[in-house]
Amino acid sequence: MLEIVEILGLPFLACVLMAVVLGYFGIHVLKREVIFVDISLAQIAAVASILAHIIFKSHNDSLTVYILAVGFIVFISAFYALVRKKITQISLEAIIGVTYAVAAATALFLVGVAPGGHIHVQHMLAGTLLWINASEIIWITIVFSAICLCVFLCRKPLHAVTQDYQEKLEIGLYKTLWWDFIFYVLLGTVIISAVKIAGIVVVFAYLIIPAAISFLFARQTTSQLFIIWVAAILASIGGLLFSYYLDFSVAPSIAALLGVELILAAIAKKMFINTS
């Protein structure tokens, strides 16, 4: 028992932190119908990390990598905010989907021209959650706390821009574009930290799946948050134990369990809850 706590204690703490913050952002992402955005932002952050490695020979945990990744996120956030306002012919999700493909190709291109690059591809997909150390936990706690504070202070305009974007644009809400931009920057900053420890797949799973489960059963934000956190933490515990006893990678195990939870929730909703 002590051995399990020793090995899985820190990864579990990281999972809880991700569940709390990503879960909240998941509500916004689902309401905005931009499901791809996190994968796209994560992929862009990964490109920044590979570029920093190639150009500056920076280590994965260095400040250079982080600054470059934030820079890329700020740039792409401005692009998304602009596109959402200016392009009406197709959905923003289509633009985000293509951005993801181009960013993923850029990552593969860079690892193709830089030696030993395939390790980055593997890390981008699976992460290194099991090997997280105390200093990394402290770092993401600080970053996530700062983000939570910003989200709390800006919750009203962020909620308004998520909920009624077209309406706000039509009545000329000053700074609609600005708040959209702020949302993507905050989400992107969370994703940079989360992807570094857990990989793209599990970050996507934490962001989308618990929020999707909560949308099946609740409409109030507080109830949704409660369901999200319970679902994410249960999957984290299950995934960590599954990987420990059956010798699978941690991140895909958690992602797979979250998927199972969603299927069970959908069945439960269909069987036991009258939707009429």
Binding site: I35, I87, I90, I96, V102, L108, H118, A256, G259
Partner: protein, 242 residues
């Protein structure tokens, strides 16, 4: 490589790209106009997973036989199995990047014939398929045509992913169609514009990859990506009709 081999290399690639892009642009327009952006990546990922199952079963990657496991891939989770495969990471990268560089004429012929049959089928029943987007709810057999559309998408995904990889397959489907959809709502014109831009971008990508010794699949996607960025910027800063 002598002159004949270079000609052979480019002709195989260009013929394959030219045929593949027609149907991918058309299906891509359906996907974009119905906002089903995820559907292709899901299918791509399953097809990639199927190819990995094939490798685990000892079937050579990228051969006609390797299509079969892709069809039954929907039953499992790709990453969990990839984790257990010997050298799974290499195959994860391979399914992302593809191996279109090593494509052969027999594979091109099989792929081209299937695509041409599907193109003819979609051309004959174009009204039924287009009504799914333009006039939803008016077609009495909507579910059947929906099913046929996704079956087509599934078939082309299973065919193209082992050759081109997840990313290039996704890019073939999404990028030319996205560019075309930004500028026109007319289907025939959109397919033509998407195909033309996609073809020119891909041929530039193949040339850049060959002459500058760059990774094949990512170079093609980036070439398409550059066209996409220009198209979005033109659309953003061009005056909208009143």
């Amino acid at each position: 490589m002598n002159g004949y081999e270079i000609l052979k290399f480019f002709s195989v690639q260009i013929v394959l790209i030219a045929v593949v892009l027609i149907l991918h642009t058309y299906i891509g327009l359906h996907i974009i106009r119905r906002t089903l952006i995820f559907s292709d990546l899901v299918l791509d990922q399953f097809a990639a997973f199927g190819a990995m199952v094939g490798v685990a079963l000892g079937i050579e990657y990228g051969t006609a036989t390797s299509y079969l496991p892709a069809l039954i891939a929907v039953l499992f989770g790709a990453l969990l199995l990839g984790d257990k495969l010997c050298g799974g990471g290499t195959y994860v990268k391979k399914t992302l990047a593809g191996s279109m560089l090593w494509v052969t004429w027999p594979l091109v012929v099989v792929t081209a014939v299937t695509y041409i049959v599907l193109i003819i089928f979609h051309f004959l029943f174009r009204d039924k398929f287009i009504s799914l987007v333009e006039r939803p709810g008016t077609n009495p057999n909507e579910r059947l045509w929906d099913f046929l559309l996704f079956t087509t998408q599934g078939i082309i995904t299973v065919l193209i992913v082992p050759i081109a990889g997840v990313l290039l397959a996704y890019a073939f489907l999404m990028i030319p169609a996205t560019i075309a959809a930004l500028f026109t709502r007319r289907w025939l014109l959109a397919v033509f514009v998407g195909w033309l831009i996609g073809f020119l971008a891909c041929v530039s990508g193949v040339c850049a990859s060959y002459f500058l010794n760059l990774p094949y699949g990512p170079t093609l996607v980036l070439s398409l990506g550059i066209c996409f960025v220009f198209a979005v910027l033109i659309r953003c800063f061009r005056r909208q009709p009143a």
